[in-house]
């Protein structure tokens, strides 16, 4: 044990603090403190000042150490941004596959280094555009993918053997991934070289984002199939992106985001081990996805605590031996829910601060929201400003000159410790319930998030919390930004395109393939290869998902509020 500070200094600090407090009392007697209570955006109370006394028992090497070394508090790679900057990965998707392909080319030409795909709601839920459930939704909040043909158009002309692709997709993640692999193979690119991520995190869907298809247990079984298949066949692919982002957007606090996300990670790890996989074979391909919200220091502390906690969980709880299994690598998106429709240009500033927190927290990749995202899908101009925000942080601000620049800040370290402690308490609670699957069944995380969201909204309405332009500094305004419209004609065109594919394919081959998918789902066989075969035969997304729904049944929202 080597304590960070020489114990002798604590007496001096205590004396100094008493003196300062005396002075302070005089100041506040003349003029009281600005607020009755100072708290983070998650309503965690913050002290007036932090000193080495808050880190009294901290052992530098045990709690912090060096980047690239256990417990990775200061970063997963030894070099961090001195070696390579984070991946600037802007989430994009709109209209048809060709429309989105155009946006991808634009972003790549402007210096973006990874692709990230947003799908429309029918695709996210495993429906084709012609489904009665899909009316009015085609291409609205992402790209519509019905068949392999759409996937081919989406990535046409893009160097997918060199660039990595992230796909935000959950219930039908296995099918969309099968389409991506099939598309690459048709272009002569071997699955072994493909790099990217599917979100594929169903637990947080039941908890927060609420796109679902089948009940939790079979949903997790399909996920374990993808983990197993990826480990064996697509070794550069991140088979799951364990996501706190949506938990936070649904209204959780920062510590709930952290705890629920890691608890989801624990559940997936347990299920994969139950399957008979070795933790060190699959854990290195797990990635994470967090929100970067408004409270700058709280977010930095969250990212640092997350790395340290996951390292400890993997090493101590799951006995992982490969250091790569201990890494918590994560993508960050700035907080969509923090943006305001009022005075929308202020959103550029909010996003910049949130992006800065993600960078100070050591993120591996980042999406910055566009100023108009609260109004509609971003225009090109707004998306470009958002990308430029990252480039300014990376190349002008100087914050990337040293690794973990806030490490050692009394405040940030104390907050990091507290975050870890509180999150482990929640994880303990979930363990006591029998793990995350049981907790979800009891609606525990759902209810906790609903409570936090309501509490936060009440605070805003009661002016205990400032939202600039909404409850303070309000102006009468016409919202001046240009909003991107999605052509209503699109739905008809997309249905026509899918119908063309259906008339040109070999239907008996499709049926045969779908039957195989069904057999794998009802039995123990890994479903992935049967999915690749089915989409190569031009089975549609919904046709495959209907097999899942038939075998496993459908999950319905319990409607908790």
């Amino acid at each position: 044990m080597a304590l960070t500070f020489n114990p002798k200094i604590f007496d001096d600090i205590e004396k100094g603090k008493k003196k300062w407090q005396k002075e302070l009392e005089k100041v506040f007697a003349a003029r009281p403190e600005r607020l009755r209570r100072f708290a983070t955006v998650s309503d965690r109370e913050i002290k007036r000042i932090y000193t080495p006394a808050h880190l009294k028992d901290q052992d530098f090497m045990e709690s912090l150490g060096f980047p690239g070394d256990y417990p990775f508090t200061r970063g997963v790679q030894p070099s961090m941004y001195r070696g390579r900057l984070w991946t600037m990965r802007m989430f994009a998707g709109l209209g048809t596959a060709s429309d989105t392909n155009e946006r991808f080319h634009l972003l790549v030409n402007q210096g973006q280094t990874g692709l990230s795909t947003a799908f429309d709601m029918p695709t996210l839920m495993g429906y084709d555009t012609d489904s009665p459930k899909a009316r009015g939704e085609c291409g609205k909040c992402g790209v519509a993918i019905d068949t392999l043909k759409d996937m081919e158009d989406l990535f046409a002309g893009l160097p997918i053997d060199r660039i990595t692709t992230s796909m935000t997709i959950n219930p039908p993640a296995s099918v969309i991934w099968a389409m991506y692999i099939a598309m690459a193979e048709k272009r002569g690119i071997h699955r072994k070289v493909l790099g990217g991520t599917i979100q594929n995190d169903m637990l947080k869907e039941f908890i927060a984002q609420k796109t679902f298809m089948c009940p939790p247990i079979p949903s997790v079984r399909i996920i374990v199939d993808t983990v197993e298949f990826g480990t064996r066949e697509v070794p550069r692919w991140n088979t799951i992106s364990i996501s706190g982002y949506h938990i936070r957007e649904a209204g959780s606090t920062s510590v709930q985001e952290l705890a629920f996300t890691l608890a989801d990670g624990i559940a997936y790890t347990e299920k994969a081990i139950e399957r008979g996989l070795d933790v060190d074979d699959f854990a290195p391909r797990f990635s994470f996805f967090f929100n970067s919200h408004l409270d700058f220091f709280e977010e930095v502390a969250k990212f640092r605590a997350a790395r340290r906690m996951w390292a400890r969980i993997m090493k101590e709880r799951f006995k992982a031996k490969d250091p790569r299994s201990w890494w918590l690598r994560f993508h960050t998106q700035t907080a969509g829910c923090s943006l305001t429709a009022q005075q929308p240009y202020n959103n550029v500033v909010r996003t910049a601060l949130q992006a800065l927190a993600a960078v100070m927290g050591g993120t591996q990749s980042l999406h910055t929201n566009s100023l108009d995202e609260v109004l509609a899908i971003p225009t090109e101009e707004a998306a470009t400003i958002a990308l430029r925000t990252q480039q300014i942080i990376a190349e002008e601000s100087g914050v990337t000159n040293t690794i973990d620049p806030l490490g050692g800040s009394y405040f940030v370290e104390a907050l990091t410790d507290r975050m870890e402690e509180e999150a482990f308490e929640i994880i303990q609670k979930i363990d006591d319930m029998g793990g995350m699957l049981s907790a979800i069944e009891k609606n525990y995380p759902q209810q906790e998030i609903a409570d936090s969201a309501y509490h936060y909204q009440r605070q805003i309405d009661e002016n205990q919390r400032t939202v600039v332009g909404v409850n303070k500094y309000v102006v009468d305004e016409e919202i001046p930004v240009e909003v991107l419209e999605i052509d209503e004609e699109l739905e008809r065109l997309q249905i026509e395109k899918t119908n063309r594919v259906k008339t040109e394919r070999d239907n008996s081959r499709v049926e045969e393939c779908l039957e195989r998918v069904g057999e794998c789902c009802s039995g123990d066989e890994n479903v992935m290869q049967s999915l690749i075969d089915a989409v190569k035969a031009d089975a549609t997304l919904q046709e495959v998902c209907d097999v899942f729904r038939k075998v496993y049944g459908e999950y319905r929202d319990p409607g908790i509020y």
Binding site: M121, P122, L124, M125, Y127, P132, K133, A134, R135, G136, E137, K140, C141, E205, Q209, K210, T211, E249, A250, G251, C337, T340, A341, Q342, V374, L375, A376, I377, A450, A453, Y454, Q457, R458, I460, D461, V467, G469, V470, N471, E478, I479, V483, I486, E488, R556, D557, P558, G559, I560, Y561
Partner: protein
């Protein structure tokens, strides 16, 4: 003869496939706290299902929430199906990410009010108090 006035019954509904339910759930709670009887449909309802449930539950108002862009089809569809079922005395209002230009069109289609992000809960509750009365049996 005076009948005892019953409480206003509101349905908060999520039409379409959009899963953003933070707003809908907060509104449902605010209505409950304001003393209304609240029915929350949960997610992923078709307009037909919402209208059917509204009639079954005998509500006075339906509040629709949409944040994924499909409001232009979904909101008017609810109004239309209510008409078809002879239940167009049920007030329909909506909220979510709705561009200004669409608000007028939705109102023309029979949506009585549209609330956009940042509207205080109190304002929404007050609107219901002033515009929705318990329907006659």
């Amino acid at each position: 003869m005076m009948r005892q006035k019953r409480r206003v019954r509101v349905m908060v509904a999520k039409p379409g496939l959009d899963g953003h339910d933070r707003g809908a759930r907060i509104i449902a709670r605010a209505y409950r706290d304001a003393g209304f009887e609240v029915v929350y449909t949960g997610l992923h309802q078709t307009p037909e299902e919402i209208v059917e449930a509204a009639i079954q539950e005998d509500v006075d108002m339906i509040g629709l929430s949409s944040l994924a862009g499909a409001h232009k089809y979904l909101f008017p569809a609810v109004v239309e199906f209510l008409k078809e079922r002879g239940a167009d005395d049920i007030v329909v209002c909506g909220g979510g990410i709705i561009p200004d230009d669409d608000i007028d069109k939705l109102k023309e289609a029979g949506v009585k009010e549209v609330f956009t992000p940042g509207t205080p809960l109190e304002e929404i509750v007050n609107w219901v108090e002033n515009n929705v009365k318990p329907r006659q049996d």
